[in-house]
């Protein structure tokens, strides 16, 4: 059967082609190596300068919020992996924390420490990935290879823990499913000991690199007002002069027990964001060293619980399920029907590597959430391009998209 021509004519009703001026409309993406996923940008150009930018999203829309309304809470956990798939444990954690707040669960300390390790490893993975891809977009192939090598080690550690490299699903509502493997701490320590030298290597390659500086300094400057108004969070906001890190300001998990600094800058340009990512990697290493000590303290004190004890919501440990009839019945009900959280609403924000990752859950007492809204930071970081790109030149587009660190799994959800 022949395709009817012009059936697929793009729908450009907001665009007029005017012969008299020199305006050119450049369609950037949705398949473009530097669009970090499925971003389509319609750029109106005067010569090489952008006068109007129109980001178009939705190419990766899977309707996760709709799926959540038709799934029991535990079923939805692996779906959250597919939001920010560069750091999937942070999504798992955000969702688990929201449900835990809704039902009022207290997670055992050992599980908290393991969760923090996973979160910070994910932050490192995400930042290394960001550095690698952004550097590659601008042309620094070496940095790409270096940073991917380090990320690979981290993925090996995670793989040893949960068996998956990218979509971990390593966190459960009420705790973590497993204790860390024997080689975990050793591998992590070996990695962390090498990390300062690695970061220095990247900086040696980039900090004084003429091409890098041309694409980074004084490019893509976001003012504080603009960042606040566009809902920017995470490194994007901190680079624009607001020292706001949810781990510090509204501490969750054990972040109030660890020492770390919040790097921030008032420059707001690409270079400030780059510096913040680099500094954050150092701070993350600092946190990870402390969590290793915290974990060993848990072991010394004999705290072995990994899941919260709440028979109404969380299955009993495997040993109980296999030996005790009542635990088995509870487990059966929780798996087939799902937990039923109380009636209420909750909005919980966590600091994911990209920014504020929020989960809004409206529960009507049923096993399915009545409404679940995923607040993904990249969504507004993409919207920001509308106001940020005009005035810049074509080569800057790539570096600006790079430093906004958008991941389309969470933009489109």
């Amino acid at each position: 059967m022949a395709q009817i021509k012009n059936r697929l004519t793009p729908f450009f009703e907001n665009i007029t082609f005017d012969r008299d001026d020199n305006e050119l409309i450049l369609n950037f993406g949705p398949q473009h190596p530097s669009s970090h996923g499925q971003l389509r940008l319609m750029l109106h150009l005067q010569q090489e300068q952008i006068v109007k930018a129109h980001p178009d999203i939705g190419y990766l829309h899977r309707g996760m919020e709709k799926m959540a309304e038709n799934m029991i809470y535990n079923e939805f956990m692996p779906t959250t992996d597919r939001m920010d798939y560069i750091a999937s444990s942070s999504n798992n954690y955000g969702f688990a924390l929201a449900v835990e707040k809704l039902i009022g669960l207290e997670v055992p300390r050992r599980a908290k420490v393991i969760r923090m390790m996973l979160l910070e490893i994910n932050r490192l993975m995400s930042h290394l990935f960001w550095l690698a891809t952004t550097a590659l977009d601008i042309g620094a192939m070496t940095v790409f290879l270096f940073a991917f090598r380090e990320r690979e080690y981290l993925m090996d550690i995670i793989e040893g823990y949960c068996g998956a490299r990218l979509t971990h699903a390593a966190i459960r509502i009420g705790g973590v499913p497993l204790d860390i493997q024997d080689s975990f701490l050793h591998q992590l320590r070996v990695f962390l000991n090498k990390l300062p030298q690695n970061i220095k290597d990247y900086e040696d390659l980039l900090d004084t690199n003429r091409i890098w500086l041309m694409r980074m300094e004084e490019v893509g400057t976001i003012s504080t007002e603009m960042a606040l108004s566009w809902g920017c969070t995470g490194p994007m906001l901190r680079a624009s002069g607001v020292k706001w890190d949810i781990r510090k300001e509204e501490p969750y998990e054990l972040y109030d027990e660890v020492e770390f600094n919040v790097p921030w800058s008032d420059k707001g340009d690409n270079f400030a964001r780059y510096r913040i990512y680099m500094e954050e990697m150092r701070e993350t290493a600092k946190i990870l060293y402390q969590t290793i000590d915290m974990y060993q303290e848990c072991v010394r004190k004999g705290e072995t619980a990994l899941m919260a004890h709440a028979p109404k919501y969380v299955s009993a440990p495997k040993l109980d399920i296999m030996t005790q009839n009542y635990s088995l019945m509870q487990h059966f009900v929780l798996v087939t029907q799902g937990m039923r959280p109380p009636v209420g609403e909750v909005y919980v924000a966590t600091e994911s590597p990209k920014g504020e990752l929020g989960f809004f859950i409206n529960s009507q007492g049923g096993p399915y959430p009545y409404r679940l809204k995923l607040r993904a930071p990249s969504f507004w970081h993409t919207g920001l391009l509308t106001d940020l790109l005009p005035g810049h030149y074509i080569p800057d587009v790539v570096s600006i998209i790079g430093t906004t660190n958008i991941v389309f799994g969470e933009v489109d959800r």
Binding site: M1, Q3, I4, R7, L8, F11, E13, N14, I57, G58, H61, G63, E65, K66, M67, E69, N70, K101, L102, G104, Y153, D156, S183, Q187, V190, L228, S229, W230, G231, V242, W244, E249, E250, Q337, G338, R340, P342, V343, G344, E345, V346, Y347, V348, A349, E356, F360, N362, S363, Q364, G365, G366, Y368, R371, K373, R375, F379, W380, G383, D387, D412
Partner: protein, 268 residues
Amino acid sequence: MRAYTPKDDVQAKPYYTDRFYKSPQVAKYEPESDEVFSADLEAIKAKFEVLDAYIQVEQMVVYINAKDNYGVLELMRDQLSYSQLSEMSAIDWIADRNGFEVFYQMLSMAKRKRIRIKLFIEKGQAVNSVEKLFRCADWSEREMFDMFGIEANGHPFMKRILMPYDWQGHPLLKTYPLQGDEFAAWYEVDKIYGKEAREEIGPEIRDTSRVDRYDSQRFSRLGHEVPKGTEITGNEPVNEQAYQEDGGVFLIKKFDKESSVIIDDPQR
């Protein structure tokens, strides 16, 4: 007679609920129990009508009238230092109350507090756009329109954002089935070949990812291969899969288990 299934909420329902099960409630507290929240609430109450207010899970929830949303958010941004609109969207209550609840999730970085402003609108009613106060509402309101069909008055570009521009229906409505409706099922066929091709293509092959087990024209089952085009209805012959042919080229030459090393530390 068939049992009546309500059409206004076609989402998944629990198949069993105990007759005597009564869901517990997440605790609600008076706004007066928190100094900062009670002061904020007084400031809002001084200018606007507040229908209900309480604290739930460390955040205050304030119900206001739908017409006041712009004013309340402006007051909160300019005078109460709620500098960021973290999130806004709607909840579908059409089956219960024939309307939507719209919520605005506000964050004050100076006070380290979060407030959720909520308002109720009837089905078909629009809300005032807050895009002039918070630029991020530009995309949020478009998403809300896309997902629920709620329009925002005064929005500069009220178009769909996640779904295609020519989509019909609003996916997050409770009346919208999870698998999509008739329009969604035929969307690609209608667009590429035209509506008249529906009959010719048929519902069986409109799904491009569909794999027919007995279709020997386009697919072959590993280990059960048959000549292309053979009509089969099952009982395909088994073809043994051999990775190392007898007398063929060795895949691994002289693998000596004794002298090989297993790397257990990748970072060695």
